[in-house]
């Protein structure tokens, strides 16, 4: 079966500083794949490259068989890739409801996710729907930013470090919700630093180091082989 998304040997730089050196990865329909690695290894840059926010200088991104390298981000979003950025970036001066509404209108992709459906998934958001984005807690912001991207009814969800900076209880709650999304059939590409979080969700992992793929395999391999996991991540 052809991959839903293929990243083919991409090199990406911010101005003169190169960050990715030939990353290759693919994601199949219904999978949850994790990019694992410490800060600065290129996880976020890989996501930005997929989303068209930082265009790779070499290599290509193929989505559903079509080369989308160099497309504007809004075209990529409308083609079905949803991006949840690391720093959340809720619109601080729009209410929770407005944040969600705007996403639906921006992407123009009707589908199962509506504001009501998302309030069912995250009942906490329903209670604060008229509150401004800037007045939310970190956990609420993370729920909102995931919900906002789901409003675009994506076929693939890019989740950049969803657990970062959140209290353990909130992380557990998110883990459960993302698990539900995965069970619902959503394809997810996750970027994480923490082994526990990623192994709990991912089917396969790519371990990144200095802008290259150092290891790739099923997450069970890392789960079962503690030495391997330590070698890859304890550097």
């Amino acid at each position: 079966m052809a991959a839903l998304l293929s990243i083919e040997a991409i090199h990406t730089a911010y101005g003169l500083s190169k960050v990715l050196f030939g990353i290759t990865a693919d994601i199949h329909q219904g999978e949850c794949v994790c990019l694992l690695g410490r800060n600065g290894v290129g996880k976020s840059t890989t996501m930005r490259s997929i989303m068209g926010l930082t265009v790779p200088s070499q290599g290509k991104i193929v989505w559903k068989g079509e080369d989308i390298t160099g497309w504007a981000p809004h075209r990529i979003a409308r083609a079905g890739i949803g991006f949840v950025p690391e720093d959340r970036r809720v619109f601080a001066e729009l209410s929770v409801w407005e944040n969600l509404d705007i996403a639906a209108r921006a992407a123009r992709r009707p589908g199962p996710w509506t504001i009501e459906a998302l309030f069912d998934l995250f009942p906490q958001l329903a209670a604060i729907q008229s509150r401004m984005g800037g007045f939310l807690s970190g956990g609420e912001q993370q729920m909102l930013t995931i919900a906002r991207t789901l409003m675009t009814n994506p076929d693939l969800l890019l989740l950049d470090e969803p657990s970062e900076g959140l209290a353990p209880l909130v992380v557990d709650m998110l883990l459960e919700k993302i698990g539900d999304l995965k069970k619902g059939g959503l394809t997810i590409l996750l970027a994480e630093q923490g082994l526990a979080f990623s192994l709990a969700l991912a089917d396969r992992v790519y371990v990144l180091e200095k802008g290259e793929v150092r290891y790739t395999g099923p997450s069970s391999a890392l789960r079962d082989d503690k030495d391997l996991a330590d070698r890859l991540l304890a550097l």
């Binding site: 989303m51 926010l53 504007a72 981000p73 809004h74 979003a77 409308r78 991006f83 950025p85 970036r89 619109f91 601080a92 001066e93 729009l94 407005e98 509404d101 705007i102 996403a103 209108r105 921006a106 992407a107 123009r108 992709r109 906002r148 991207t149 675009t152």
Partner: protein
């Protein structure tokens, strides 16, 4: 008598304020969303006045043609804005302020000279449409019907503007673009088209204000620089990028100028500059603005 006189000063300040608001709101909107300080905004205003005069000259016999001329001028400037944004402005987004300033200033010089070539350096004037020729007596002060019309229109535009920004999805999209362009694009919004739209609306307002001012003020080269300096003062007082700040700034500017003239007849503009200086020291981001991150 004294009360009537003061009230008439107040009305004249209010007229000034409404014109300034119409010009400054577009300047502030473009800065708030596109993050470009458009020096050429005043030039669009001046060209609006010239276009209104030109259309009137073509429509010569009918003075009521002014309404059509004003609309034509505003539309013409909106089209100019569209071309300028699509061909040139979009290369400025995210660039250093210095480049933006140099570019928009170059536009001021080029369009200003083009206006001189087309319409000469003399004064041109447009007569008031007869339908609003009379004056109205308000608490003993005389208010020309035309000024009243402009005030009502100005307030209507201010309220309409605000309702659109706050209550419609297009307005929310514009506010979101001002907050985080990249994020909005990642959600699927075509931010480039949104930017063009904002720039066109701002140009339309500038052209409209220029056309509307032409029956009250002579059309002369240099009115572009004069208005842009005034509009800058307004947004500095009110807070750049803040809608109500611009409105408040324009009201304050109008009144300070109008009453300042009574205190320092020869230096009326001084009182406005003094106010701006005080605000820059005490609250550099303006009365209703917020500090830049």
């Amino acid at each position: 008598m004294a009360a009537e006189f003061l009230f008439s000063q107040f009305l004249s300040g209010l007229t000034t304020a409404i014109f300034l608001f119409l010009v400054a709101s577009g300047l502030s909107l473009v800065f708030g969303v596109l993050r470009v300080l458009n020096f050429a905004h005043g030039t669009f205003y001046m060209l609006g006045a010239y276009l209104a005069w030109q259309t009137m000259a073509w429509l010569a016999p009918t003075k009521e043609g002014f309404w059509l001329a004003a609309l034509a001028a505003a539309t013409g400037i909106a089209i100019l804005g569209f071309v300028v944004e699509r061909l040139m402005f979009r290369h400025l987004y995210g660039k250093e302020e210095l480049y933006q300033l140099l570019f928009t200033y170059a536009l001021v010089l080029i369009l200003g000279d083009a206006a001189k070539i087309l319409w000469g350096t003399g004064q041109l004037s447009v007569s008031r449409p007869p339908s609003v020729e009379g004056s109205l007596s308000v608490f003993g002060a005389l208010l020309p019907g035309y000024n009243l019309f402009v005030m009502v229109l100005g307030f209507a535009i201010a309220i309409g503007f605000w309702v659109i920004l706050q209550r419609t999805s297009a307005g929310r999209m514009i506010r979101a673009a001002a907050m985080d362009r990249e994020m909005l694009g990642s959600l699927g919004a075509n931010v480039g088209v949104l930017y063009t739209g904002v720039f066109v609306v701002s140009s339309f307002l500038a052209g409209l204000s220029g056309a509307l001012v032409s029956p009250i003020k002579a059309i002369v080269p240099g009115m572009d620089v004069e208005i842009i300096v005034e509009a800058f003062i307004v947004v500095v007082i009110g807070g750049l990028g803040s809608f109500w700040g611009t409105f408040l700034g324009a009201l304050i500017y109008g009144q300070v100028l109008s009453f300042g003239i009574l205190i320092f007849p020869r230096f009326s503009i001084f009182s406005v500059f003094a106010l701006m200086a005080v605000i820059l020291i005490v609250r550099p981001w303006g009365l209703l603005g917020r500090p830049l991150k």
